[in-house]
Point group: D3
Chain length 79, copies 6
């Protein structure tokens, strides 16, 4: 009866995508359910997975909304 | 001061509905708030309830997205 | 596949108890699972319930830890 | 590595707004990240903040959906 | 910046253990962090994982506390 | 009616402490409740705060349990 909650930003993660795709979500669900089977012997049908997509405006890191934080990190990187 | 979080899929649950209705949400809120009053003596206005609706594509069970899991279960059922 | 999370304080709720009892937890689990069956037609064995007990020191209300908030409310009550 | 989750209703909170603004979200993220730095010495870039906006229909208080609860409270207020 | 929350029961999962071991927890953390790297290109150090262990008395399934539910399932199994 | 959940590790954060103190928790509760009052006009007594302390063994970062991740970062730092 494990419950796995995966919180990610609502955006594309690979070139050519603008959102997390249904295929990527299926891979996350499959991967984490098998991980719990492998590590803790949890049967596949005893595991629930919930994927929560969060707008980047609603995600904070480094005291800033995510987009601002990413710009700051790029600006600070030695070039 | 209890907090109750109810996570359900974003879909209709009764014939003729395509989503959880406002009336059904009100029944969930009323029912669970009274349960905490009855079992633990918590005053109604000390209880918060949050209903989170999750797209079926974002819900995993049995290592599969929910729609695929349901198809699999139907296919396996003895007839 | 609903998931219900019930967050309550780790303390007794009825005279003569100093914590939430196993019996009270069973009543919460039974009550909320049947509520989801009644309101949304969710089968009992598709519902997970998680009860999280939180120390009163870790619970805030009114800008104060819970015990301080309760003292403040009692002091403010007209007598 | 703190994680702060802020759940609020999806509505305007000041005159002239009909939703939480990006500016208000940025202030929440900044404020809470600095609070964890000041109180617990957590570096800003070790703190994640997630803001979850919840429809008022999905928020319960006093055994009622939020809008109904607010109407009830206004009606009960002595005038 | 994904956040993964894994909720499991506080009990041993393999013969000879009476709780989830530190080694098993490390495997869960490693596995799920690499999954997010593989599927969504998330850098390892942008992912937080939180494992929440829940007493079996606080976990409900099938309308019953977990231990009672397991006894019921065993009793119902055809032999 | 905001709900703020603060997840932190169960450890001391300042010299001479081995855990988060009641005083530090009170400061977190006060600070975040006032932040919601200042930014979103939320009355203090409409805000709940829950502090969840997580064992370092149960917290993952960089694909590793937190203690291992911290050792790795110290080892990698230029000296």
């Amino acid at each position: 009866m494990p419950i796995v909650t995966i919180q990610i930003t609502r955006e594309g993660n690979k070139p050519g995508t603008t959102s997390v795709t249904a295929e990527e979500k299926a891979q996350l669900i499959e991967g984490v359910s098998h991980l719990l089977l492998d590590v803790l012997n949890k049967p596949l049908d005893a595991t629930f997975v919930v994927i929560e997509e969060v707008d980047t405006e609603n995600w904070g890191w480094g005291g800033l909304p995510l987009d601002a934080y990413r710009r700051q990190r790029r600006a600070l990187k030695p070039g």
